[in-house]
């Protein structure tokens, strides 16, 4: 499988990374080099093999559904590029 220019732009949109028009061809080549390389996986017989979900043989720990942390909104927004009254500020999203 390989990607074309339109697919590169579509992946950029899905990944929320702006792709400049002049960069599409180079990115396409780079992505295809990597996709060619991983293509060899299709020759492995995986019949009856389960896809790995956990590398260590363990069950996911659970805990009581209770609030164990929080109460410091000032710290949460402390690194925000723009915040106001302990809210993150973003461009208007609802008309």
């Amino acid at each position: 499988m390989s990607v074309d220019a339109d697919t590169v732009k579509r992946i950029g949109r899905l990944a929320r990374i702006k792709i400049e028009d002049g960069d599409v061809d180079k990115l396409k080549d780079e992505l295809n080099t990597i996709l060619d390389f991983v293509e060899q996986l299709s020759e492995v017989n995986v019949e009856g093999v389960e896809a790995m979900t956990s590398v260590a043989p363990m069950a996911l720990r659970r805990r009581e559904d209770a609030v164990t942390d929080g109460g410091y909104p000032d710290k949460i927004v402390a690194n925000s590029p723009i915040s106001e009254d302990n809210f993150f500020m973003v461009p208007k999203v609802v008309e």
């Binding site: 400049e20 996709l35 995986v46 260590a56 461009p91």
Partner: protein, 494 residues
């Protein structure tokens, strides 16, 4: 004081501090001076001199009273991937511009609880994506080692290139690092230092910037096997804040270092004889086997049939997890924001400006292999292959093999801005061909300096262990360390 305190091993430093031969303030000041003089290596992205001297002062008070932890007063460097409260923590990325966490990672907290002193934050490949430390927003780290008779700059490997260069260049007594596909072991091999990736789940991932969560594991880079064992004991431990942290007692790894290899069976995987591998690496591998044999180990040829598929599977699994983990960098919560006409444009422009080329490439590959219509063909297939890779190792360990010896890397350190590598991403990725299998299977792996190439550059051997059997790796690693009879200190040129 006539000896240069920066030339001591971590174990010697801890011992000297406890014996009051010198103070933590003296050692710390020596390292801070060395760091100031070593800007040519570009190993540190932030130096926390005032904080280091404060921590050293507090350690000295404890040491005076005969108190303190295993690392009391010992100055360490911390990879920029670990969140450190109030201190530069940017994963060497522009997108985390100005980020100073309000919390401390579990790994670093464990080190401070044992008395260690933080010198600063170490350079690395951006988001730990790279094998040469050239993808850092802060520029490449330069290897303290140079080829004999050459002034050319070499890479220290990556992604923990700052950690490896700082340890090799006497800029800290030991360093934290992380390993997703070889990022501890490959730079350790390139710089003549010791690096271990513990078993997945040994060290908490909490507070460490995530790259590929099912593969990421923290560990140390240090000057000796004993130093690495001491740091591993401190770093590891159960942490309820990490859902994949393993609730298991951490042994005193340093106690295993001199255990020897008598009676152990060491596996040699035939699939690791790669085409085009330099003959000096083949020879070094043979030499390593001879050393282990001479100390009473049995050598056994083994087969890990799915070895060649580990790297391609990794380049699906790791970018897939990265594309998900890195979705959080959106210009809203922290770091860089580039404004746009609406929120989507703000996201897109922020991520285009904030992520470097390699990170963008991997996020895009990950996005693609997880997208509708390709998920089964790529991602599920890779996770099935991963099951087979892990089973290869289980089968071998079930036949009585205690550890596996392989080369650590397919070559010695290469030049900064290597044309071949920058032209073809796969060439760069092949650096991890011997190390990546270990992450895919969640196993522990250690890289120990073992020899030098024709140009006098360090080469490492890797030992792979059973899950949670780091002790055997330290013991076998120590045998290699004792056997090579070489000096792994670079000639100071900076």
């Amino acid at each position: 004081m006539t000896t240069d305190l920066t030339r001591l091993s971590l174990a010697e430093t801890a011992k000297g501090l406890k014996a009051k031969d010198f103070t933590s303030k003296e050692v710390t000041a020596s390292y801070l001076y060395a760091i100031e003089k070593a800007s040519a290596l570009n190993a540190y992205v932030a130096v926390t001199a005032d904080q280091a001297l404060d921590m050293a002062g507090a350690s000295d008070e404890k040491l005076q009273k005969g108190e303190g932890g295993a690392l009391e007063g010992v100055p360490l460097g911390i990879k920029d991937l670990f969140c450190t409260k109030g201190v530069h923590s940017q994963a060497a990325s522009h997108i985390l511009d100005g980020f100073k966490p309000e919390y401390e990672s579990t790994v670093t907290q464990n080190l401070w609880d044992d008395g260690a002193v933080m010198l600063g934050k170490l350079n690395m490949d951006e988001f730990a994506m790279g094998s040469s430390n050239e993808t850092s927003y802060y520029g490449p780290v330069i290897n303290p080692w140079r080829a004999e008779g050459s002034n050319a700059d070499l890479v220290p490997g990556g992604s923990s290139g700052g950690s490896a260069a700082a340890v090799a260049g006497w800029l800290c007594a030991g360093a934290t690092a992380t390993d997703t596909g070889g990022s501890i072991r490959q730079p350790a091999a390139f710089t003549g230092t010791v690096g271990i990736k513990p078993t997945y789940g040994r060290a908490s991932r909490w507070g460490t910037v995530a790259f590929a969560s099912s593969l990421d594991q923290a560990g140390p880079i240090a000057r000796t096997v004993e130093d690495a064992a001491i740091m591993t004991t401190s770093i590891c431990g159960f942490d309820p804040k990490d859902s994949t942290s393993v609730d298991m007692a951490v042994p005193d790894f340093a106690a295993a270092v001199e255990r020897g290899v008598k009676g152990l069976t060491i596996g040699v995987p035939k699939e690791y004889h790669m085409d085009g591998m330099p003959s000096e690496i083949e020879a070094l591998w043979q030499q390593g086997l001879e050393w282990l044999k001479a100390e009473g180990a049995t050598i056994k040829e083994i087969s890990l049939p799915h070895t060649k598929y580990a790297l391609p599977a990794y380049y699906i699994v790791a970018p897939a997890e990265a594309s998900s983990n890195l979705a959080r960098y959106d210009g809203v919560k922290y770091g860089l924001r580039v404004p746009g006409k609406d929120i989507t444009e703000m996201y897109e422009q922020t991520r285009a400006a904030g992520f470097g080329r390699e990170v963008q490439r991997r996020v895009m590959i990950g996005t693609y292999v997880l997208s509708a219509g390709y998920y089964d063909a790529y991602y599920v297939q890779a996770q099935k292959v991963r099951t087979l890779i892990k089973k290869d190792f289980e089968d071998v360990f079930n036949t009585g093999v205690d550890a596996i010896l392989t080369p650590a890397t397919p070559s010695a350190a290469f030049g900064v801005a290597d044309q071949e590598m920058s032209k073809d991403p796969i060439k760069m990725y092949l650096n991890d061909v011997f190390t990546v299998t270990v992450n895919m299977a969640g196993l522990p792996g250690i890289s120990v300096p073992a020899g030098k190439d024709g140009q006098g550059l360090p080469l490492g051997l890797q030992l792979i262990g059973k899950p949670f059997d780091e002790e055997t790796l330290f013991a076998a690693g120590r045998v290699i360390e004792k056997s090579h009879g070489l000096d792994f200190t670079p000639n100071k040129w900076w």
